[in-house]
Amino acid sequence: MKNDNLDKMLNLVDDKYLGEANPENTQVGQKSNKTLKWSTVALCACLVLLVLNVGILIPFLNRSNDDPLIPGPDGEGDVIVEVPGNESLNWEASEPQTSVPSDYDEIKAEIDALWELNDVKEEINNEAVKDQINDALEDESQEGSSESIGKQEQGVIKPTTDNQVDGVEEADIIKRTSTHIFYLRGKFLSVYKIDGASTKKVSSYALGGIIQKINEKIKSSYEDDKKEDIIDDSYVGSYNWEMLLVDGGKTINIITQSDAVCPHVTIISLNVENPENISLKRVVTTLGRYETSRVVNNEILLFTTSSAGGFFLPQYNDGNGYKYLPKDKIFVPDSGVYSTNSYMVIQRLDAKTLDTNDAVAFYSYGRGEVISYNTDIMEITRAGAADKPIIYVSNENIYITRTYRIITNWGRSVSKDACEITRISYTDSTLSYAKDQYIVLDGYLNNQYSLDERDGILRVVTTINERGYDEINEKYVTTVSASIYCVSINEMKTVGRNTNFAPNGERVRSVRFDGNYAYVCTAVAFTDPVFRFNLTYPTNIGYIKTDDISGYSTSLIQLGNGYVLGIGYGETSQSLKVEVYKQSGDELISVDSYEVENAYFSEEYKSYFIDREKGLIGIGVTHYAYSGDEAHRYLLLRFDGTKITEQLNTTLTGTRSLTRAVLIGEHLMLFSDTQFKIVSVGFFDDIFTN
């Protein structure tokens, strides 16, 4: 009743007040950009003085020797911070800075100075962190395996996730072996024993207790009377869970993100050798926000980002406690652009033991929180697009990216989006980065599928977003288009490009590389062309394209045999369209399409079921032609080389982005956050060879 009445009251607030408080409006009391520029100089001076005299601008300082796990807050209130040497500092004194030094040498010097200050504390956390892990292990019997039954042997790993790169496994909420399927339903891991139409859930493992324990540990590190003020975003959502099946199907590593007190990532390692009696192996918590992960050759590549208002050193947990990264593992971009005061940390862990083999950090590659900065020739601001860092991992290299807007005119009228891509090699035992291994390209990236590496060339597709001044007609001109680049990975230099190939106004909606070809869908409204680029000769990039077709694809998927599948919108945003394209002479043509009007689907690529050999496509939709739960449908379509036909249209409740399907024999197993369903769909022969 209380909440209902509060809702009623808040719904009656006058529009003029809501408009005034709109968080997107010009902020009350915020400094102008010009003021910020001048204050930057003063703040930098203060920063240097503070570091030299006190050394307190370290938001991730540990509180005390018996507070193992937890980083300090980023500018929280008036918490008292204990630092080595029993100096007691008022946290308010280290109110976060909103700007950062602009110069490479300055930033390196700050990092070095901070590192020297904290070097001595490197080992203080170990014992207490071990205690925390042991606590979790001791409680294992209470937390998990509540439905476990007799001993069952685990089979070998079978693919479920349609990975972008063969051999580079991506995390997902579903994984399977030859004998069992694992599905993460929020904070519960459900295990299904495969047995045709009799497939059923045989055990589940509760993960919430472990996360709760870790969060409580984090909270308890703060003084009791400050808890309520500090605990803000303690949400642990069902979406923020992913898993990796490793160690030949014997170990599952579940990765989850929590924002309790400070963002942190927890990896829970489970022994699933006997899937019906799962046991906890290890828990490792690391700082920052979870971005993504991969498994390559039994090593986990974990990508996290941390950000804070002030200057700080990146930390990581090597499995034995938190440590500051060594100076030579903290990299500052050589591009001269420092757009946010944040880091991306890449950790390389043994997938079986979770021991850390290596870790590196990249300054200013985190999520954008601070708008800054200026150099002598230009101003950099946060780009309108791509807040989330986009990461692509090939078989040999990691590419991390960030996007910013370059303003070349102080009147803010001439500007363009640019993306910076940095290459890190991981073929050796260490993550290696050379100072010149980056490139800045015009435009911003759509997602990880905008990048692809082949034969020493990185191929990149961007959306161009520029604003210039036409002096002849005396007016500003905005250009929105698309470009494709070929970059030599040894030199990180462009060797070929085709710029602004899309009609003005069209931005990139989806990209897929297939061998020497790149497929790109661009659109301005609900009409798209699909382009196919021939990248056989990177210095001479040619393309063919379709005529304008209604709708646009949000995912393009190579089916093999020259076919490309598009999943996206039809004529409106309330429709689903599945279409197959193929080259015919000098054209790219639509072979067939299937459309559902008055429907909604998820753009989450991992929610689609793709079986290339059998030409099968599965997708969850909400179809407004049905009512109630019936509106939640799962469609199985088949492309046979000429036609797309519907094979199944059944009810499947739950969140569309969380639907998954596995085809075993003649049975399609459907999973969602609210339902498990088996449907007999008959046997499908292989149509295509890949």
């Binding site: 007040y17 809501l18 408009g19 005034e20 209130g77 975003d233 004529e571 909604y600 998820s602």
Partner: protein
């Protein structure tokens, strides 16, 4: 494209209305939904449902301020979705903001149209009596469900300053409602 033109597209049943709405307001709507749901994907679904609701309700509606019209829809959809899945979730901004605000109210009933009018006048006169910055802080916290940290950054204040302001505003609202004879 300005709001008037977008609303005209809705009235003409032109599907570009959805595209233009998406182009102009997607980020804003996702911000509101995400403050309640704390999930990018769920927020995206909510925003899509908002477009569908807008398509179904304009016409007959002809909102003067499209942003606020859509903002109210997405907020209510996000709250419904949040409540539906509450059992599985930990506290987010929405719960924390409501917990703060519920300290000032009793468990009353407000069902008659007269109650609604009295409540509308009371809340708006309370807001009208505040300096702009205080009003903005109050609504960003309790209507837009922003975190206190976000509010501090957006308004160039320290977080402690925001928290103290909110505490005082809650007390002030409680007194104001009591004075107006309103029991929530």
């Amino acid at each position: 494209m300005d709001d008037k033109d977008i609303v005209m597209l809705y009235w003409q049943r032109d599907e570009r209305a959805i595209y233009e709405t998406d182009k102009k307001y997607k980020k804003y709507l996702q911000y509101i939904a995400n403050n309640i749901l704390s999930s990018d994907l769920e927020s995206e679904e909510c925003v899509n449902d908002t477009y569908s609701r807008a398509w179904g309700s304009i016409p007959p509606s002809k909102p003067d301020k499209l942003s606020l019209y859509l903002g109210k829809i997405v907020r209510n959809l996000a709250i419904d979705r949040y409540n539906a899945s509450k059992a599985q979730k930990r506290k987010g901004n929405y719960d924390l903001a409501y917990e703060e605000l519920s300290e000032i109210i009793e468990d009353g009933s407000l069902s008659s149209p007269a109650d609604q009018i009295a409540l509308r006048d009371a809340i708006n006169s309370f807001l009208g009596s505040l300096p702009e910055i205080k009003r903005v802080i109050f609504l960003q916290r309790y209507w837009y469900n922003c975190s206190t940290r976000d509010i501090a950054v957006k308004n160039g204040l320290s977080e402690i300053n925001v928290k103290v302001s909110l505490m005082r505003l809650r007390k002030k609202l409680k007194k104001h409602l009591e004075k107006e004879g309103i029991v929530l």
